[in-house]
Structure formats: C-alpha cells, structure tokens
C-alpha cells in the first residue's frame, strides 16, 4: 500500500497560498496534509488561515512564531541579530499579534512542538526547526550529513520533516533515512519566482520514500494588494511580487545569500 503525505510550513498568514496548496495536495492525492508551524507573520489578516486548517483537518506543529503569538511574548524568537532584520520582524510581529483573535491565540498555545507517527513501517518526526529545537535553522549549506545522522539517531526516527528556514531542500541519509525541509508557503523561496513550495512524501512498505517539492502558484497580486491595504511594509510586498527576499537576510549562510539578489 502507498501513503501520500503533504507537508507545508511557514504559512506566514498567506491564506491564499494555503488554500492553493491544499487544493494542489488534494489533486496529487494526499492522504493527509500536515502543517509544520509559523501560521502568522509577514502577510495580512492572520485569522484567515485558521478556518482552512480546521476545515481540512490539518494537524499542526507549533512554530516559534505560534508560541510567541500564542503567549503574547515580546518578539517572534526568530533569533535575528541584525538591527534591520529586527526592525522588520518587529513590524510584522506587532501587526500579527494585534490581529490574531483570542481564540486563535489559544489554539496556537496548545499546538505540540513535534508530531511523531509511523507510516508504512517508517518512523516520522515532524518538527518546526530541528528535532532538538523549535527555532534551530537547518539550512542546506550549513547542515552537515554527519550532524543530520546524529539528529535522526537521537530522535530514533527514519524521516525528519521540518521548515523554519523558508527554503526547501532534502538529503538522503544512511539506512534509507531522510531529512526534508519542506520550505514555506508564506513567501517565495528567494529564487525570483512568485510561486511557493511544499513537500510531497510518498511512502510504501519495503521501499525508500519518494520525496519531491511542488511549486504552487496562487493569486500573489491579490495578496500584495491586501498587504498594502493593511499598511504592511513595501519591502514585504516586493518579496511577494518578485520572489526575492528583501528582509531577514543576515541569517542566510553564504551560499543561500548568494543565490538571491539582496
């Protein structure tokens, strides 16, 4: 038997991309869709993502943003060190906190920090950053294979799926194990395209998992207009319209930074 699982992360209030991603995953034949956290940030009308997650029965892992908004903390715990990054992070954090209902904040508070499941004989661990820390950045160019082997060994799983960095990548490991970063559907992947990405994982007994990243197009112009209506920074809107990141760049490693234009 084959099981098809879809993993999306970094929704960042982009309810339009969320709707389009769910539709795409359904067309592909996903048996279950999972969300790996950071429902808010960046985009407009944060409350609009919750009904979609509820309607399609999508289990969620708690991201650092969800913990912050849920508990009304002072900041998003993104771990930025640059003043410019922190400036923009503060704008979107304040907006998201003010515009998330009490009921949805309670929902965010109650999310688990990880989900473990066994599917087709494989042990899966779904997390936000890394199996050991919610806001650990696992970038492709700064995460070594021996380190991933260690993380999977410690967690005693065959497949780890995370998000947090916003860039999709995966790496096969020893013994048929894999690490997958599903990317983000909230904003483009700093590749000059306006689409966003999620991960499709197909599992079957006695065979290695099939992993692919799927691009999703959505009405990004409408999102940009709504962001403008809500007074969100032009820098964020530019990212939605061009596919290039304009903020939160200091945490990017050299290779990932060089792939973008800013």
């Amino acid at each position: 038997m084959t099981t098809r699982l879809a993993f999306l992360g970094g929704v960042y209030s982009n309810y339009l991309a969320l709707g389009a991603t769910i539709a795409d995953a359904k067309r592909w034949g996903a048996d279950q869709i999972f969300c790996l956290g950071d429902l808010g940030a960046f985009g407009p009308y944060p409350d609009r993502v919750f009904p979609l997650l509820d309607q399609f029965g999508i289990p969620c892992v708690q991201g650092n943003y969800d913990d912050s908004i849920g508990h009304g903390l002072d900041d998003c715990q993104c771990g930025y060190t640059d003043p410019r990054d922190n400036h923009f992070a503060a704008i979107s954090y304040r907006y998201t906190l003010e515009n998330t209902s009490a009921e949805n904040r309670e929902f965010l508070r109650g999310l688990p920090s990880e989900i473990r499941l066994e599917v087709e004989g494989r042990r899966l661990l779904l997390c936000h950053g890394s199996p050991r820390r919610t806001n650990e950045f696992l970038w492709q160019s700064t995460t070594s294979t021996p380190f991933l082997e260690y993380l999977l060994e410690e967690a005693q799983v065959d497949l780890v799926i995370g998000t947090h960095t916003g860039l999709p990548w995966q790496r096969p490991l020893s013994g048929g194990r894999h690490f997958v970063n599903c990317g983000a559907i909230g904003r483009p992947a700093n590749d000059g395209q306006t689409c966003v990405w999620y991960a499709r994982v197909e599992l079957e007994q006695g065979r290695g998992p099939r992993i692919e990243f799927a691009p999703v197009t959505y009405d990004h112009r409408r999102l940009a207009n709504e962001m403008r209506d809500e007074g969100l920074p032009e820098e964020f809107i530019e990212t939605i319209l061009t596919g290039w990141w304009t903020t939160c760049l200091e945490v990017l490693p050299g290779k990932e930074r060089a792939a973008g234009v800013y």
Partner: protein, 304 residues
C-alpha cells in the same frame, strides 16, 4: 589559576556542533592591540596544526556528528596547508575561516572558489576589520591595515564570496547603529554591494588588558545567574577547539591553564567545564559570540 568558588557553575556539552581549529597557533602577521590571545609574528606559544592533524580530527568529527568547522588563529592563511585543510573540511561540512584578509593570494582563492562550488556546503570568510576607516581601524590593528583588509574584501567579493566583516566593539555600544551604517557605506563604495557584518564584544584578555582593562573579580558567572539561562548561548555548550596541545574548551580561553580537556581523543574532551573565567562572563552576557549569524538561534524550545 583562579580558585574555584563554591558557586562556580559547570557546563556539560550538549553536543559537539562546532569544531574549531587553531590552525596557525598564536602566529599572526599583525599585532592588534585588542587581541585577546596576543597574537603576533613572534608569538609562537601555540604552533601550527599540520594537515595530518586536521585530517585525523575531521575523521573523528564525522563519528561524533559534528555540524560545522571553524579555522582560526593567529592568521590562518599563514599556515601553508590551510587551503587543503578547507578543501578537506568542505567535503564533510560547512567551513568558516577567520582571517584579517591581508595576505590572500589569488591562487588560493581560485582553489577555494572551486572547492566551494563543488561542495553542498558554505565556505564563509570572516574578515576582521575594527573600524569603518583607517582612522578608526588602524590604531587598533596597525598602520595601513584598513586599506589592506579592504583590498582583501574586494578580492573575496570578486571571487564571488560574501565575506562577513567582523568588528570588535571598541566604541560605546550605543553607537552600534551608526557604526553599522558607516561600515555598510564604506563597503558598498568599495564594491561590496550587500555587506554582511557581525559585531563582537571585546574580550578582556591578552593585549586587550593593556589597551583597556582586565576582568574584575566580580565579573564571574555564578550558579544563580545560570538559573533559567539558556546554556546554548555559551560556546562550551556545543564546541571544542583543536590546538597543537590537544582539544581545548573554546577558542577564547586558549591560554587558560584548565583549557586543555584532552590530549588524546575528541570524545575525551566532551566533559563538563567550570565557568571560572572572566571571559565566560562576556560569553554569558552577549551569547553566541563566536558563531556565524546563520547559526543564530536564541535557543527557544530546546527539547534535547
């Protein structure tokens, strides 16, 4: 050695995420007035690591699940085997070299660019410049060093690298924003269109003690301070340093008497360390001072 106070906390390593190499020991072509290990062309109290030593440690590192490698000194490029060392490291993980960028040769950069392009991992250059002008930098790093380091930055940019300019804060902290802005301006004017900058606190050890002051006895980490503190902020929580004397606790306490944790294997060095030094206090205050910004995490949600 400082006597161990009753309330001196100990830090157990959570995992060896970072492995540092003191590749050029304490030898440097410059003699910076704030250097916390007093490196100079004549300070050979720590010597160069050989390519074979680095190769053997890299082999150990795979088994221990190390994530990333840092190469420091002294000036790492004084070690004639640095390029092959970085090539080796890039086969198994991301590598960072901490340099003053005044001795870079095009043939080395050509090889490193090729190694970087072939690797899935990032090679980062951290370039020390301690002021945005010759007037602010040279009194600390030496006559003519600003111009020479900026030339090095331009060279790296021409090779397609995005160096991280690392500046030790020798100005009042409230001037950070101004200093960052001036740095960006100067770097852009020199052709570095998207400068990356990391500010560091000074460490009041070595030459810096003469330039300003050392640590007071009261500047120590206590057990009480550790309550509720995220130990991930401390480098000894997740790193070790390889020197020609063995495996040491961290790149800052190079000369501390209790810093050598193993003269044999790296696994042996993974034992608790007492935060007895003044520099531990700086590490505690500022957190993650040695790592690159891409590893920057404030440790939320630690489930280990």
């Amino acid at each position: 050695m400082n006597p161990l106070a009753a309330d001196t906390p100990q830090v157990s390593i959570s995992h060896l995420d970072q492995l540092w190499f003191q590749v050029s020991g304490t030898l440097c072509n410059l003699t910076c007035h704030h250097c916390f290990i007093s490196c100079s062309p004549h300070n050979d109290s720590f010597g160069h690591l050989t390519l074979e030593q680095v190769r053997a440690r890299l082999r150990e590192a795979v088994a221990l699940g190390v994530n990333e490698y840092y190469f420091t000194g002294g000036e790492p490029f004084l070690n004639r085997d640095l390029v092959p060392m970085l090539e080796l490291a890039l086969r198994q993980g991301p590598a960072t070299v901490l340099t003053n960028a005044t001795v870079l040769k095009p043939e080395w950069l050509t090889r490193l660019k090729a190694a970087h392009d072939q690797s899935e991992y990032s090679l980062e250059f951290r370039v020390s410049i301690d002021g945005f002008s010759a007037e602010t930098n040279d009194p600390i790093r030496g006559e003519g060093t600003f111009v020479r380091a900026m030339r090095g930055v331009t060279q790296l940019v021409e090779f397609g690298f995005l160096p991280i300019i690392t500046a030790a804060r020798t100005w009042p902290e409230q001037e950070d924003a101004m200093v960052l802005a001036r740095f960006r301006e100067v770097l852009r004017a020199a052709g570095y269109a998207r400068p990356r900058i990391k500010l560091l606190p000074t460490i009041k050890l070595g030459a810096e003690v003469k330039r300003t002051e050392g640590y007071r006895d009261s500047q120590r980490v206590t057990a009480e301070m550790m309550e509720g503190f995220d130990t991930r902020q401390l480098i000894c929580d997740h790193a070790r340093l390889v020197t020609d004397r063995g495996v040491q606790v961290c790149p800052i306490l190079l000369e501390a008497e209790d810093a050598v944790l193993s003269e044999t294997t790296m696994a042996e060095s993974l034992k608790p360390y007492a935060l007895r030094h003044g520099a531990c206090y700086t590490c505690y205050q500022y957190g993650s001072i040695c790592a690159n910004p891409s590893g920057g995490s404030l440790g939320f949600g630690d489930r280990a």
